[in-house]
Symmetry: C2
Subunit: 154 residues, 2 copies
DNA sequence: GCATGATTGTATGCTCTACTAACGATTTCG
DNA sequence: CGAAATCGTTAGTAGAGCATACAATCATGC
């Protein structure tokens, strides 16, 4: 399978090798994100909620009456992307739009009782998802990891 | 920053706050990934290459003759996803498919001269992209970060 | 050797996310 | 007041991921 001029397809354990790519930080962030994404999707398969949907529900639970633009800014989504997510949540009856009294351009978003219920269920799933993720680190490492990730996205 | 009952929409500098979400590790991974993704897209706007495309070109440059399944395994992509990316690269003339002599089911993938050229240009862009990413860390921090990310995706 | 199952590539379709461009309504500012 | 900026909305484009189904090839066991 391997000769002098060419690398192995896999190491003996069947895990892939990355060659030079292994030195690229962005590459590892993408792989880690993919792994988290896949586990999240499994965890939330029954609830049929995506990461973005949960994030919007979560923020709305803490900030009732927030506008779409505010939600979008927090999650680094543009207006159009925020729209599609809010639309889906509204179609499922998890939130309602109200005209903002202070600014006629804005829609104040509020969770419905169904939305509150979905958020509560989602938080349970998030707990086990986070447990899966955090289990490989010490508390100190987690703090350091989050701090370093913050330096990237802030 | 926060009062007892409710969080502000933004801090004085206009940066969003996350409330409870701030304690979720997966949330920070997703935000960091998004930031890296956006910068990558800007950096590669002229070359019109995506992260996945660059990764495939890169692996193919180091592993000429690799099959689609091998490339997919390395990058944690399923066969269908790998197909679409290989198709695009082939349409642009960056690689060619050859029937594997050792296994009739496999296609041996090879970079074309245009593909080699694109890869060389991509590596230059990767260098500046990585510079942007790494500039906020010390060498020791980078090593720790990559090691921790590896614990997630390995 | 041959039937069976596994692997690989391919094709199709669906979903989610992200971005652009345009438009109307509203607010804000000069 | 008029002009510029903001917010929501709609429409279109695109990448990426996944599931399913099918054909060709390989590997295995009988």
């Amino acid at each position: 399978m391997a000769n002098a001029a060419m690398k192995n397809d896999k190491d003996p354990a069947g895990l892939p090798e990355y060659g030079e790519l292994d030195g690229i930080v962005g590459f590892h962030i993408r792989l880690a994100h993919g792994a988290v994404y896949r586990h999240f999707t499994e965890t939330f398969a029954e609830l049929e909620l995506t990461q973005k949907q949960v994030s919007v529900l979560w923020l709305l639970g803490e900030n009732p009456g927030a506008s779409q633009i505010e939600i979008g800014n927090r999650l680094r989504m543009d207006r159009a992307t925020t729209m599609t997510i809010v639309n889906r949540l509204q179609e499922r009856g998890y939130l309602r739009r109200e005209r903002s009294s202070s600014d006629g351009r804005k829609q104040a978003l509020h969770l419905t009782p169904e939305g509150e219920k979905a958020l509560a269920e989602a938080k349970v799933c998030i707990r086990s998802h986070e447990e899966w993720l955090k289990s490989r680190f010490s508390a100190q490492e987690i703090e350091k990891l989050v701090e370093m990730l913050g330096r990237i996205h802030e």
